[in-house]
């Protein structure tokens, strides 16, 4: 019981929660204070109940079940059953010795850090550009978010069209400006497929960085940058010594979210390369799908899922810490 509810024991039976307690006009009857407070707390719980139920059902249950699966010897026949025979660490042993899995893990790191690096640089440059005044800047700012809104799978398919060896716009542009002498087989070459996925992912991720960094830069007080300008700081100095330190919290959170979003990428790869050729563009996500849903080794897929989950959740303490204002807001608000 909450300390504020000390009077609870002395108070008579509280009104049924279904019957709204009317404000009392006389001092006849018990004081409404306690029952009203309890009623409010109950209402709060009822408002929250669907969300709690959903979180338990759609997040906690699958995560726990995934953990269980990773220790089971599964087969297509066990899918219909609640549990399969215990397998110990066999699934984990398998995935850590399987060359394709190792490759998928390495690809995931290359893909994630490659994407973040270019997305951040390009996104920051565009944020600075759109932060200045020029003809058409408002229209440009609203159009730059287009890649963000498209279904990821469709983006993958779109780039597959652009990167075709014959009749693909990319090769045609490269040959027209003399950067390629013949058609490059982007999607069927094991050396290039992952690059293709990387390029597509950079394209779709830049707007996220641009939008968030742009709004952070807009929040930098102009007096500060003006003062620096008067003191003789050039544009580069103003950027590195004034703007970046001020927006550093946003940079941190944007990079962190960028990391967790990129580690999860799935639809794009399936639409673009399907993980091929010869598994050369498999990421953890796509290879896990392949293990579970194409080879029906759900146990191995689940084990790989846990590797991915650890990778993503490593960030969660940092994320919670960076979001501490939002968490703290919970105790400061209300009454």
């Amino acid at each position: 019981m909450n300390g504020k509810n000390q009077a609870g024991a002395a108070a008579p039976t509280p009104a049924s929660p279904r019957q709204p307690v009317r404000p009392r006009t006389s001092d006849a009857g018990p004081p409404p204070r306690v029952s009203a407070w309890r009623r409010r707390r109950l209402a709060g719980w009822l408002f929250l109940a669907p969300a709690i139920a959903y979180l338990l059902f759609a997040f906690l249950l699958p995560i726990i079940y995934n953990l269980m699966l990773s220790f089971e010897r599964t087969s297509p026949a066990t899918i219909a059953k609640f549990a399969a025979p215990f397998a110990g660490l066999a699934n984990y042993r398998y995935i850590f010795h399987d060359p394709t899995t190792q490759m998928a893990i390495i690809h995931t790191f290359e893909f994630t850090f490659g994407s973040l690096f270019f997305q951040f640089i390009i996104g920051f440059a565009l944020a600075l550009l759109f932060g200045t005044e020029f003809p058409g800047s408002t229209l440009g700012r609203s159009l730059v978010i287009v890649p963000w809104l498209l279904p990821l799978f469709v983006t993958g398919v779109m780039f597959k069209f652009l990167f075709q060896a014959e009749g693909g716009a990319v090769n045609q542009i490269l040959m027209a400006i003399g950067l390629a002498h013949g058609p490059i087989d982007w999607l069927n070459s094991p050396h290039l497929a992952l690059w293709t996925v990387l390029i597509a992912n950079i394209w779709l991720g830049v707007p996220f960085f641009t939008v968030l960094l742009y709004s952070a830069i807009q929040d930098v007080p102009t007096e500060v940058t003006e003062a620096a300008r008067i003191d003789g700081a050039g544009p580069w100095q103003r950027l590195v010594l004034i703007i970046v330190p001020i927006i550093l919290p946003v940079i941190e959170i944007v990079l962190l979210l960028g990391f967790v979003f990129t580690v999860k990428v799935f639809d794009l790869v399936i639409g673009l390369t399907g993980g091929g050729p010869a598994n050369s563009s498999q990421l953890i996500t796509t290879w896990s799908y392949n293990l579970s849903f194409q080879q029906f080794n759900f146990g191995q897929g689940a084990a790989l899922n846990n590797v991915l989950l650890v990778l993503a959740l490593i960030c969660s303490p940092i994320y919670l810490w960076l979001s501490r204002d939002s968490l703290r807001g919970s105790s400061g608000a209300g009454r």
Partner: protein
């Protein structure tokens, strides 16, 4: 050059750079549209034409014949996801911002972490869980799974918004004898309209664009959203690019509509969701 001329040249130079960037941003979408109007012969000619070469509507005819049911399915999935997100998220966000419940910090932390969990982890387990409870290949199952994109985001965005509502409004309603539910329905929801629309728009786009849950939880027969419809076109050895591009053009429509109609809500959602969340 005078200072002023320099500044003017600078402005136009920046406009030029921005225009170049926008060409890169918009070209892939443009290419889909061009491709969707090309004949099969043109698409297999080995040349990409910058403008439709002998434009035809045959791809759209093919796609409307084969995929219009799937477009309707996607529409229902998107609406279902938006509805589920609102039903779960609006009251929860209200409780998490205006009621001092002890679980608040636990729930908010869980929501932040839930946003991080990769969909493939959920999809693998949900597929088997749905097997037991007979939700595989059902509309309800798909919408429940699609809610995993939308609900944590929706609660966090709405909660940030509810903080901005003064407590006095709710107190005044209570003093007038309104129940908690009436206060929520008559006072809080109308005031939160813009945030609710923002959240609904994003949930709609999430449901519309979902691919991974459609791929895992549906079996490709019966309920087929448009993304899955496009995927089946790719499965063959020779891709019918005309049909793929026309179907993709359909899949891009909601994003385009939202960009024009709900621009304001999209802009606020994009920034609110990630930083203030």
């Amino acid at each position: 050059m005078t200072r002023r001329q320099q500044r003017r040249v600078g402005r136009w130079l920046r406009a030029l750079v921005a225009a170049a960037a926008l060409v890169v941003v918009l070209f892939p979408v443009y290419a889909i549209l061009v491709g969707s109007f090309e004949s099969t012969e043109t698409l297999f000619s080995g040349t990409f034409y910058w403008l439709p070469h002998a434009a035809t509507l045959e791809n759209y005819v093919t796609v409307i014949r084969a995929q219009s049911g799937n477009v309707v399915t996607s529409l229902f999935v998107a609406l279902g996801t938006a509805l589920l997100a609102l039903v779960v998220a609006v009251p929860a966000a209200y409780a998490l911002s205006k009621y001092r419940l002890r679980v608040t910090i636990v729930i908010v932390s869980s929501l932040l972490i839930a946003q991080i969990v990769p969909s493939i982890v959920l999809a693998t387990s949900l597929f088997i869980i749905f097997h037991w409870i007979h939700l595989v290949n059902t509309f309800v199952g798909l919408v429940l799974a699609d809610g995993t994109y939308a609900i944590p985001f929706a609660i966090l965005v709405l909660r940030a918004f509810f903080f901005s509502l003064p407590n006095e409004l709710m107190d005044a309603a209570r003093v007038d004898g309104a129940s908690e539910w009436t206060t929520f329905r008559r006072i809080v929801i109308p005031l939160a309209r813009s945030a609710v629309i923002t959240v609904a728009v994003f949930a709609f786009l999430n449901g519309w664009g979902d691919f991974i849950f459609a791929l895992t939880i549906l079996n490709g027969a019966g309920i087929v959203p448009i993304t899955l419809g496009i995927y089946t076109y790719l499965g063959n050895y020779s891709t019918d690019w005309g049909a793929v591009m026309a179907a993709s053009a359909f899949a891009l429509v909601p994003a385009g509509v939202m960009l024009v109609v709900a621009q304001r809500y999209i802009a606020s959602g994009l920034t609110a969701g990630s930083v203030k969340g």
